[in-house]
C-alpha cells in the first residue's frame, strides 16, 4: 500500500470542493518530494512514504491528568485530541476557534496536500492594541494508532498587539505516526509575536511542519524551535517582510541521539528596506543521528539597509552522527550587511581536561560544555517554564543529573 495509496483511498470518500480536488490531484501528480529535489537533497521521505497510515482518526477522550503531565503548566491552554478542539481558554481581546479554511499561495507540495485535506487546526485572532500577558500553550494529542493527522492553523495579530505561544505535539498511541502541520501567521503593524515549538515527541513520530509568517511595518516576530524528540522532523520556516523596520528572529536547538533525524529549513525574504533578521541554530548530535540545516536569506533589489545575520553551529559528539549544512545568501541590493557562519566541531579537549582534573566526571564535564554551547539559545527563551523544560531535557538526553538553572 503505502502513504500515497492511503491518501487516494481517503480522498475518494471525501466530499472535496472543486478547488481542493484540483489541489489534491496536483499533489498526486507530483508526489512526495525525493532527494533529487534541491530542497529535499539531504532529507529522504522514502521510509515515510512506504509506510501505511490511518487517515480516519478515532475520537477518544483524554483525562486531565494526562494533559497536565505534558503541559508546561501555564494557565491558558488550547487542547486538541485526535484533531478535535476539546478545550480553549477565554482571554480578553483574543478570539480562539477551531479550523477555518483559508487560501495560501504555496508551491510546496506537502503544503498543498495540507491545504487540500486538512480539516483540523486552530484560528487565533488578536484584536488591535491587545497585549496578551500570559503565554498560550497549544497541545495536540494523538491517540489513534498509526495516524496521519493534518493541522491547518492561522494566527492574525492586530496592530500594536503582543502574543506569546507555545506549541507541543504529543503522540500517545505508542505507534508510528505522521503529522503534517501548517501554520500561517500575519503580523500587522507594530506587533510582537513569539512562537515556541517544543518538538519532544515519542521515538516513532514523524513531523513535517511548515510555518509561513508575513510581517508588516515595525513588527517583531520570533520563532524558537526546540527539537529533542521524534524520529523524523522537518521544519520549514518562511518569513516574508513586507514593511520597513521589521525584525525576524529565529533560534533553534536540535539535540538528537539514536536514529533521530531533524531538518531545519529557513527562508527569510527581505522585500523592504531597513529590516533585520537574526538566525541562530545550534545542533548537537549523538548516536547515529543526522541533522540538516538549510538557511536561505534573500534580499530583494530595493531592500536596502538590511542587516541579516545567520549562524549555524554544530557539535558532532559521536562517531556515527552526520550533519549537512547549506547556508545560502541571495542578495540583489548593495547597501546591506549580510553574513553567515557555519561551524562543525567537537568539545574542546583542554576544557574537558581542565574540569576532569578538578574532579568533574567525564559525562558531567561534557554536559556542562554542551550546555554552554546551547545556552546562547536556551538562556534567551523568555518563558521561564520553557527554559526549565529545555534544561531538564538537555540534562536527561546527555544522561546527567545536573540542574542548569542557576
Amino acid at each position: 500500500m503505502g502513504l500515497i495509496d492511503n491518501l487516494e483511498k481517503y480522498a475518494q470518500h471525501q466530499n472535496l470542493s472543486k478547488d481542493k480536488r484540483v489541489m489534491f490531484d496536483s499533489f498526486i501528480k507530483k508526489g512526495f518530494p525525493t532527494t533529487s529535489d534541491e530542497e529535499w537533497k539531504y532529507t529522504s521521505l522514502k521510509k515515510v512514504v512506504k509506510s501505511d497510515y490511518n487517515l480516519l482518526l478515532e475520537h477518544t477522550e483524554i483525562e486531565n491528568s494526562v494533559i497536565n503531565k505534558y503541559s508546561l503548566g501555564v494557565e491558558d491552554k488550547i487542547v486538541f485530541v485526535d484533531g478535535n478542539l476539546v478545550y480553549s481558554p477565554e482571554i480578553k481581546g483574543v478570539h480562539i476557534s477551531g479550523f477555518s479554511d483559508f487560501d495560501c499561495r504555496n508551491n510546496d507540495v506537502i503544503s498543498k496536500l495540507n491545504s487540500a485535506l486538512a480539516k483540523s487546526g486552530f484560528t487565533i485572532v488578536v484584536e488591535k492594541n491587545t497585549v496578551v500577558e500570559n503565554p498560550i500553550e497549544i497541545l495536540f494529542f494523538n491517540l489513534t494508532k498509526n495516524s496521519f493527522s493534518q493541522y491547518r492553523n492561522r494566527i492574525t495579530v492586530g496592530e500594536n498587539s503582543e502574543i506569546k505561544i507555545i506549541e507541543n505535539i504529543q503522540d500517545l498511541s505508542k505507534s508510528s505516526t505522521l503529522v503534517n502541520h501548517f501554520t500561517h501567521v500575519s503580523c500587522n503593524k507594530n506587533t510582537k509575536v513569539e512562537y515556541n515549538k517544543i518538538q519532544n515527541n515519542c521515538k516513532d513520530s514523524t513531523l513535517i511542519d511548515c510555518m509561513n509568517i508575513f510581517q508588516k511595518q515595525d513588527s517583531v516576530c520570533e520563532v524558537n524551535t526546540l527539537i529533542f524528540g521524534g524520529d523524523f522532523t522537518r521544519n520549514n520556516l518562511n518569513f516574508e517582510q513586507n514593511g520597513t523596520n521589521c525584525e525576524s528572529n529565529m533560534n533553534g536547538i536540535s539535540l538528537l541521539d539514536g536514529n533521530q533525524f531533524a531538518d531545519n529549513h529557513t527562508f527569510v525574504d527581505h522585500k523592504t528596506a531597513h529590516c533585520r533578521s537574526n538566525e541562530m541554530y545550534k545542533g548537537i548530535y549523538l548516536g547515529k543521528s543526522k541533522g540538516v540545516f538549510n538557511g536561505k536569506i534573500m534580499v530583494r533589489q530595493d531592500a536596502q539597509k538590511i542587516d541579516a545575520f545567520q549562524s549555524n553551529n554544530n557539535l558532532l559528539l559521536s562517531d556515527n552522527s552526520t550533519i549537512d549544512s547549506k547556508p545560502q545568501l541571495e542578495i540583489y541590493a548593495d547597501d546591506v550587511k549580510c553574513s553567515h557562519g557555519c561551524t562543525i566541531g567537537q568539545l574542546d579537549n583542554e576544557a574537558l581536561f581542565y574540569m576532569r582534573s578538578r574532579g568533574v566526571g567525564i559525562s558531567e564535564a561534557k554536559a556542562v560544555l554542551t550546555y554552554a554551547f546551547a545556552s546562547e539559545v536556551i538562556e534567551n527563551l523568555s518563558i521561564p517554564e520553557l527554559k526549565n523544560l529545555s534544561q531538564r531535557l538537555l540534562a536527561h538526553k546527555l544522561g546527567v543529573d545536573l540542574d542548569f538553572s542557576l
Partner: protein, 485 residues
Amino acid sequence: MSDIKKQSEDELLEEVTSSEYKYGFTTDIESDTIPKGLSEEVVRTISAKKNEPEWMLEYRLNAYKAWLEMEEPNWANVSYKKPNYQDVIYYSAPKQKPVLDSLDDLDPEMKRTFDKLGISLEEQKRLANVAVDIVMDSVSVATSFKETLAEKGIIFCSISEAIQEHPELVKKYLGTVVPVRDNFFSALNSAVFSDGSFCYIPKGVQCPMELSTYFRINEAGTGQFERTLLIADEGSQVSYLEGCTAPMRDENQLHAAVVELIALDSADIKYSTVQNWYPGDKDGNGGVFNFVTKRGICHKNAKISWTQVETGSAVTWKYPSCILKGDNSIGEFFSVAVTNNKQQADTGTKMVHLGKNTKSTIIAKGISAGYSDGNYRGLVRIAKGATNSRNFSQCDSLLMGDKCGSHTFPYIEVKNNSSQVEHEATTSKIGEDQIFYCNQRGIGTEEAIALIVNGYCKDVLNQLPMEFAVEAQKLLEISLEGSVG
C-alpha cells in the same frame, strides 16, 4: 562564411602556423574543417584526423554515447540561451589571429588595455601576433626552456602528441579524475577534445621554472574543447599557469574544457588561472560561455592549490575541485571572480576529504558590478574515514551598484566527528567613509576603489606567480572601470 573567404583564411592559417610553430609543439596542423554538428561519424573523423590509436577512439565513442544520454545541467544560478550543439564545428585547425605588421595596426582599445596592464612592448607584439621575426628573441628563450625541461625528464607537450608518444601515461591517467560520465560538459569534451596540454613531472623532480613563465614566452593557443592532463609523480613539484591577463577575443562561443591534475604521494601542484575571455558587450550580447570541469586528486601528503582570477566570459560555470584521497593531503582554493555589466558567474570549489588529517582552505572573493550576478557555490564533504580533517572556508562578496546580485550556495556535509569545519560569508559594499577618506587625501574615486578592491582581493592575488599578480591587480581595475556611478 563563404568558401572562398574560408579558403584564404585557411591559407593564411597555414602560413602563420608553419612559421609560428617551427619551434613549438603543436604537431599536425590541419587546415581543413569538418561539417557542423556532432555524430558518431564526427567523433570517428576527429580521432582519425589525429591519427589516434584504437583505445583513444574507444574512449571518445564511449564519451559520445554517454553524452547522448545526458541532459544539459540547469541547476546553476545563471540564465543563458542554450547553445545548439548541432550548430558547432567540432574540429578545425587551431585558430590564429591575422598577423599585423606593427603595433600601430592594433585595435586602439586593445593597445590601451595592454598599456594599462603594463605588458612590455616585446610581449605586446607577441600577444597581438605582430609579425614573427621580432619575436625571434622570445622564441629562442622558449627553446632553451624546452631543453632545460627535457634534461630533468619533464614531459611537456600537447595532449595529441602525448597520446602518440606516451600512450602508457595517458591511458593510465586520462579520465581517472574527471570520468567521462562526470557531467554533460565533461562527456562532450571527452568525445571531441581537439587539443590541450600534457605535463608529466618525474619522481622527485622540482620543475626548474614555473611553467607559467613558459607560457609567457610560448603561449599555447587555447582551443574550444581543451583537455589538460597534469601528472606530478612522487615528491615532485610544479607550478602551472593557464590563460593570460590580456583580453582574449575568440569566435567560439562555447568553451568546455576539462583539466585533470594528479598529485601522487608528496607531490605539490600549483595551478593558476587568469581568465579574461570576451565578456560580451555592455548589453550582454555575445561573449564566451565558459563551462569548465577542473579537478585534482591528492595522494598521500600531496598538495594541490588552485588559484583563479576570473574576469572574463559572459557565463562562467566552473568549480575547480580537490579530492583529498591520501592521508595528510592538502587542498587549497583561492579565487577572485569579477562580474560587470551583464556577466554571470557561478563558480566555487569542491573539497572532498577522504583521507585522514586532510586539510583544505577556501578563500573566495566575489565582486559584482553593473547588472551582473556573481555566485559562489561550494561543497565541503568530510567522509566517515577522514579523521582529524580540517576545513576553513571564507567567501566574501563585494557589491558595486544597486542592480547587481551576489549569492552564496555553500554545501557542507560532515560525517566524521573529529573534523572541524568552519565556513563564513559576508556581503558588503565599499563604504562611503572609506572613499571619503581617500578623497580627502587627494586620491580620486576611481583610484580609491581600485585601492580598496585590491586590498580586498589581496589574499588571493598574493597566491599568483609574481609577474601575474601585478598584472592581475591592474586587470581588476580595468574590469571594474566605469562601474562606479
